[in-house]
């Protein structure tokens, strides 16, 4: 019988709060985490707004040496992993060490450090000024590496760098690692700390970012007719996955079961999704099939819903295509309306939203949805969260390079979901 995988711990830092509880509280009350950029002077940039993490104190989690050496994305991953491990009441002793792995995704790694160091190098024209720990500070897999060191996790280690799908790819791969028997416990999710001049300038150059600078909290408006691009954000979402019997044997609290992962490529364009977004529909179908379920069994989708004109239209088309008549009963919301788009972290944080919605029976809303855009005809849970008993929750994320990654979570029940 297929090995079953459950979620037993959650940890997060987001523009909505510095813990899962604060983030969830803000999300279900429909708060926006977007404001003017404070990390650099953005006055000459087209987009001057972002979802920043506020008042994070790394000293609560790491020593001053680590703070000095590491880029924020590593510090966010360590802090969120600490919170997730504490939430799971899990310590990795020698008997678990080699059966515990880490896969944390990030789209860009230590971009802020890269920018600072290049500036110093060019200004001084002196390679001796490059800090000793610059290289491990910028590598995208340094989040996984540092987390494995901290907890003594000696099993499989990897890092997904699939752009805005990185967190979802990481969790999907971690899930398969447990299903295939290569590990029993995985610390996984996504992280990003790239509200920088290069990232804001670069995404602006692609015309991808909202320019609603005078109304930051209204700028991220997925599926609304006045949406004008995504709002860049940062964050980290880490979940603890465990093989079911390992979790049961130690009496762990089980939030939900991870029952399916779909991954497809558009093979179409490096940045734009194709009309109809066939790859997204196929990715959702694969996840549902793996779970031994049918499209009619899906209750809630935490959408990719970036607030760009193309994504929201084509994601809606893909959902309509796959679910047909069932869309009348299906709830679809984009929490990016509140967090902004946390790039590689988004899959980690939105997996947490999907798991929490199953566990609490509350669906977080799509805020700023005043007038649905053309063809945007789904139940987007507009503006106010909804209390409803649900059994399944899906999380969609899509990334540059044509990546479509989908996770499917289900309420945990003793009987297996699939007899494959």
């Amino acid at each position: 019988m297929k090995r079953r995988v459950v979620v037993t711990g959650l940890g997060a830092l987001t523009p909505l709060g510095n813990s899962v509880n604060q983030t969830w509280e803000s999300a279900v009350t429909g708060k926006s985490g977007i404001g003017p950029i404070t990390k650099f002077d953005s006055s000459s940039y087209k987009s001057q707004i972002a979802g920043e993490i506020k008042n994070f104190d790394p000293a609560q989690f790491v020593n001053k040496q680590e703070i000095r050496r590491y880029d924020d994305f590593i510090l966010y991953a360590i802090a969120s992993s600490e919170m997730a491990m504490a939430d799971a009441k899990l310590t990795i002793g020698p008997e678990l060490s080699e059966r515990t792995g880490v896969i944390i995704g990030s789209a860009i790694g230590g971009l802020a450090t890269i920018e600072e160091e290049i500036e110093l190098l060019l200004n001084h024209n002196n390679p001796r000024k490059i800090p000793t720990f610059m290289v491990p500070a910028i590598l995208a897999n340094s989040a996984s590496g540092n987390v494995s060191i901290r907890f003594g996790a000696k099993g499989p280690i990897n890092c997904a760098v699939t752009a805005c799908a990185a967190g979802t790819s990481a969790i999907g791969d971690a899930y398969k690692t447990i299903v295939y028997g290569d590990a029993d416990i995985m610390i996984t999710g996504g992280v990003e700390a790239a509200i920088t001049r290069m990232a804001v300038g670069g995404f602006s150059a692609m015309r991808a970012l909202s320019q609603r600078n005078d109304e930051p909290q209204k700028a991220s408006r997925p599926f609304d007719k006045d949406r004008d691009g995504f709002v860049i954000a940062e964050g980290c979402g880490i979940i603890i996955l465990e093989e079911l019997s390992v979790a049961l044997n130690r009496g762990a609290r089980i939030y939900a079961e991870l029952v399916g992962y779909g991954c497809t490529s558009d093979a179409y364009h490096v940045a734009a999704p194709p009309p109809g977004h066939e790859g997204a529909a196929r990715s959702m179908r694969i996840a549902i099939k793996e779970a031994g379920l049918n499209p009619e069994d899906i209750d809630y989708i935490n959408a990719h819903g970036t607030s760009t004109p193309l994504n929201d239209l084509y994601e809606t088309q893909a959902i309509n295509f796959l679910f047909g008549e069932h869309v009348k009963k299906l709830m679809v919301s984009s929490t990016k309306s509140m967090t902004g788009h946390m790039l590689g972290a988004t899959g980690g944080v939105e997996a947490i939203f999907a798991v929490k919605s199953l566990h609490e029976n509350i669906i977080p809303p799509t805020i700023n949805l005043d007038n649905p855009g053309e063809e945007c005809n789904l139940d987007y849970v507009p503006n106010v969260s909804r209390r409803k008993e649900i059994n399944t929750a899906m999380s969609n994320t899509f990334g540059f390079g044509g990546v479509n990654a989908v996770l499917l979570f289900k309420k945990y029940s003793e009987s297996p979901v699939s007899e494959e």
């Binding site: 020593n63 001053k64 040496q65 001796r128 800090p131 000793t132």
Partner: protein
């Protein structure tokens, strides 16, 4: 601040150790928990703070706090 005090302050700032641990005979690796890259990073800070240049072959000879102070004195820092 004497040279010794300045050096010890830098070490305390760089290596997550206390002032009390920083006796002159303390070995960076054996007593202060540093590894070879920690020492490289620390000596780069010393270069910056005291305006000296430490060559790679000189770096290998530095084992204790006293070695750093002696080296800096040799270079004319006081």
């Amino acid at each position: 601040m004497t040279l010794e005090e300045k050096v010890i302050k830098l070490i305390v700032d760089q290596l997550d150790v206390t002032k009390e641990q920083c006796v002159l005979e303390a070995s960076f690796i054996d007593d202060l928990g540093a590894d070879s890259l920690d020492i490289v990073e620390l000596l780069m800070e010393m270069e910056e703070a005291f305006g000296v240049e430490i060559k790679d072959e000189e770096l290998e000879k530095i084992v204790t706090i006293k070695d750093v102070i002696d080296f800096l004195k040799q270079k004319g820092v006081n």
